[in-house]
Subunit: 147 residues, 2 copies
DNA sequence: TATTGTTATACTCTATAACTATA
DNA sequence: TATAGTTATAGAGTATAACAATA
């Protein structure tokens, strides 16, 4: 898909289509902005979740993320290979792995956050601050988040 | 990706992430709603564009859509196999194909539109009418559409 | 030599389900 | 018998670039 020009009418009149278009465009831009760090968007989400509550098991991460179990394995494998996260053994139950960030993982996450903030500022530039906040609140409500 | 629960904090605080999440969720739901008609989302977009201006060449459709040339061929092949669209020869330039809907294509498009309208009503149900219109206008502005 | 359309191919991403180990 | 994690595999979807035909 190409996102180099505004979407064509009459599709661009429908809210559902606009939502898909803007969302997929944002995902696309984010993937590209993250690539120089060697990360893909799910990596960023996972690093963020591990950082928010270190030591969770993979299943707990599956439950609180959008990633299914087999993709979780693959993504954590990649983060380990990059030296950004590690699985630690739980002595009480050797089936369970506690997932932590490495020091390098924490610093890479900080860099990635800067990339994300910069991209958002750029991609949302057609809107002023008040409009951005209105959009954010509408999207939270739409996503089913209670405030 | 799973979209069966609201996205996790702290990701769900960022407008960019919310945009991706809602957009991909909508695309996902739309793909599923369209499947019983034997269509995928690009088919719907293409049928809509052909209907809006019948007789365009494939290149013109490429230029005014988000679909790249080789995917355009594949998508039109599929629409022809389904009996929904047809390539007509241009006598003046035999390289160019004029793309039209068949009668069946027009009626399938009408059905698909109903599906799309129903899905949008459903997926946007957390918002009231005024909020939906605000969202629509913000998304148009964000997409770079001048009003 | 440029344009229109097509084909072939390779790649990313993900989902499904089967499998291993521990409990 | 149930749970945590893993592996293997197949499938959808898309992008890249080479190719054929017509102009």
């Amino acid at each position: 898909m190409r996102f180099d020009q505004p979407p064509p009418e009459p599709l661009a009149s429908a809210t559902g289509f606009l939502l898909s278009w803007n969302g997929q465009r944002m995902a696309h831009l984010f993937a590209r902005a993250l690539a120089p760090l060697g990360l893909r968007p799910p990596h960023f989400g996972l690093l963020t979740l591990i950082d928010a509550e270190p030591g969770r098991t993979q299943q707990e991460l599956v439950a609180s993320s959008m990633i299914d179990p087999s993709s979780m394995v693959a993504n954590l494998d990649e983060l380990e290979q990059l030296g950004l996260a590690e699985r630690r053994q739980n002595p009480a139950d050797r089936r369970k792995h506690a997932v932590h960030l490495t020091r390098r993982g924490a610093s890479t996450l900080a860099k990635a956050r800067k990339v994300a903030v910069g991209l958002a500022a750029d991609a949302l530039s057609p809107l002023d601050d008040a409009e951005r906040e209105t959009l954010r609140l509408l999207l939270r409500k739409l996503a089913g988040i209670e405030d």
